[in-house]
């Protein structure tokens, strides 16, 4: 995968084709639904649904010309996923939140900077409606 530094608008053919894609910051974390799904079993549908969602600020949806609930494609240096979306006005405008779990972890790299901890928060991510 190409470096995200190449993905700035106008510098990449694919990006210029998709005017409504955005460069955001990804953080992952715990949610009540993810925890409940965990108790009921991580192999169950509830857990799978709870961790397969990307949350953004309502203004970000507006600027992309789409509505919350649409399917978003997210791409980082480590991987790519497509998930449904939700909005949350409590997030900063340029941030994407995904509940911790196997879906978010497709976007997380293994570099720990020598401390053992991967960067689960603060990942550069390209977001586009699918």
């Amino acid at each position: 995968m190409r470096s995200l530094s190449c993905l700035a608008k106008g510098e990449n053919e694919e990006m210029t084709e998709k005017e409504n894609s955005r460069n955001c910051v990804l953080i992952t974390g715990r949610t009540q639904a993810q925890t409940k799904g965990m108790h009921l079993g991580k192999t169950g549908d509830l857990y799978a649904r709870a961790v397969s969602v990307a949350v953004m600020h309502p203004e970000m949806f507006k600027s992309m010309g789409v509505e919350a609930g649409c399917t978003l494609r997210l791409r980082t240096e480590s991987g790519e996923i497509s998930v449904r979306s939700e909005s949350d006005p409590g997030l900063p405008a340029d941030m994407v939140f995904i509940p911790m779990g196997p879906v978010a972890n497709k976007l997380v790299g293994t570099d720990t900077g020598g401390c053992g901890m991967p960067s689960f928060k603060g990942i550069q991510v390209e977001v586009a409606p699918e």
């Binding site: 925890t35 965990m38 020598g114 401390c115 053992g116 960067s119 689960f120 603060g122």
Partner: protein, 422 residues
């Protein structure tokens, strides 16, 4: 109907020990006092005996233990990982097993508060117990954590709401500040929410340290927080009677990691020149603090420890599970009461999936899918008793309220040890 009082919920590091469980004659149970997370943890676990599996097929315990021991004996670079949702008695046996075959042993701390452990070793940790927080704290600082979701009774039982010996008014006698990158449900419960720009925690903490030390700040804002907000927070912290600073993954998983935590510890240390201030890490899993404690008293180090050379060698970044798996250095793994296939970066999880691996867990985690051997033990705090360490390092004996029909993790380790040594 049979009631068991003072049951300890083993889900998270709060280890609430005031739960009442009523077992009805029809076999159902009613749980009173636990949060939704705790109730789910205790209610959804079915203590019925479950067969171990070998490559997904049910087998006898004898066969499963034999195969698991064979994997461990034949491995050249075995990795033991997890341990945070099992009792300290089992953790101790696990270290013995790791030592007997020269394994690397790492806990879920490495993707949780591992950076906190590194910061403790580098900067020291001016800490206190949750009891002190409850009885004394008139100022609570929460940084990069979301207790309303992850530690649901923390506010009501230990920090924000309870009436304490020196805080008889309870909530009215305390001020609470939350610093985070997003406005979480916890933001609604505190008096003041400060939004830090993602990745700028270290800078904000540095500015606060400078202000607490009486230095002048010329910048109009740091990390998205206006100067006047930082100045008033520094004054509020210096002026409180007893402050407690809690923190979570917002510091440990973000750029800066152990350095963020080190700066947080140093801020608390600096504040002690003006008032009394302590810091407590919001530990996630029920006994992750116990895993750190057991590894430390057994090997000298809290996580990321190699026993391959016959003496313990500590190496975050080298002997931490994500690094070992990403570099394809582990050729077999023993996963205890944790779920790395759900919580590790996909590339690391994929390597784990490709090597022989044994899973010990009372419930079927994602990691058990594709496991070579799966060993389902009892769940401490439901049908087994053992020692768990609360997030502030206080050991608590868990109680069982259901009849045990499965082996405990401790017994599983005993059988593995016996078989490996044969």
């Amino acid at each position: 109907m049979k009631n068991v009082d003072s049951v300890v919920c083993t889900f998270c590091g709060c280890l609430c020990d005031d739960i009442r469980v009523s077992s009805k004659d029809d076999g159902t149970i009613e749980i009173k006092g636990a949060c939704a997370n705790g109730k789910g943890h205790m209610e959804e676990y079915d203590p019925s005996p479950v067969s171990p599996t070998l490559r997904g097929e049910p087998v006898s315990w004898e066969k499963a233990i034999g195969e698991a021991a064979s994997i461990l004996r034949n491995a050249r670079s075995p990795l033991f990982y997890g341990l945070s949702s099992t009792a300290s008695e089992a953790q101790r046996k696990c270290v013995t097993l790791a030592d007997s075959i020269g394994a690397v042993i790492d806990t879920t701390s490495s993707v949780c508060h591992g950076p906190t452990g590194i910061a403790m070793q580098t900067f020291g940790e001016p800490t206190c117990s949750l009891g002190e927080a409850m009885n004394r704290a008139d100022l609570l600082l929460f940084w990069g954590c979301n207790p309303m979701v992850a530690h649901s009774r923390h506010f009501t039982r230990y920090s924000l709401m309870p009436k304490g010996r020196f805080v008889p008014e309870g909530r009215k006698g305390r001020r609470a500040v939350l610093v985070d990158v997003r406005e979480t449900p916890s933001a609604k419960a505190v008096d003041r929410f400060l939004r830090v720009k993602q990745g700028y925690d270290y800078e904000v903490l540095s500015a606060l340290r400078a202000l607490v030390q009486g230095k002048r700040m010329d910048a109009g804002e740091v990390g998205g927080i206006p100067r006047e907000e930082l100045v008033s927070l520094a004054e509020e912290m210096k002026g409180c009677r007893y402050g407690v600073a809690f923190f979570g993954m917002g510091l440990t998983m973000t750029r800066g990691k152990d350095l963020n935590v080190g700066q947080y510890f140093s801020l608390v240390r600096d504040l002690n020149a003006h008032t009394r201030f302590s810091v407590i890490a919001m530990r996630g899993h029920g006994n992750v603090a116990g895993a750190d404690a057991v590894l430390t008293w057994q090997t000298g180090y809290p996580f990321a420890t190699s026993l391959a050379g016959g003496v313990p060698v500590y190496g975050p970044g080298e002997f931490t599970a994500v690094d070992m798996l990403a570099r394809h250095e582990a050729d077999a793994a023993l996963i205890v009461a944790s779920d790395p296939k759900a919580h590790f970066p996909a590339e690391a999880a994929a390597w784990l999936d490709s090597i022989p691996h044994i899973v010990i867990d009372p419930v079927f985690p994602l990691t058990a899918q594709g496991a070579t051997v799966y060993l389902p033990g009892a769940q401490y705090g439901v049908d087994a008793e053992g020692t768990y360490y609360r997030m502030d390092g206080v050991p608590i004996r868990t109680r069982a309220f259901r009849e045990r029909q499965r082996p405990t993790d401790e017994e599983i380790f005993d059988r593995l040890l016996e078989e490996v040594r044969r």
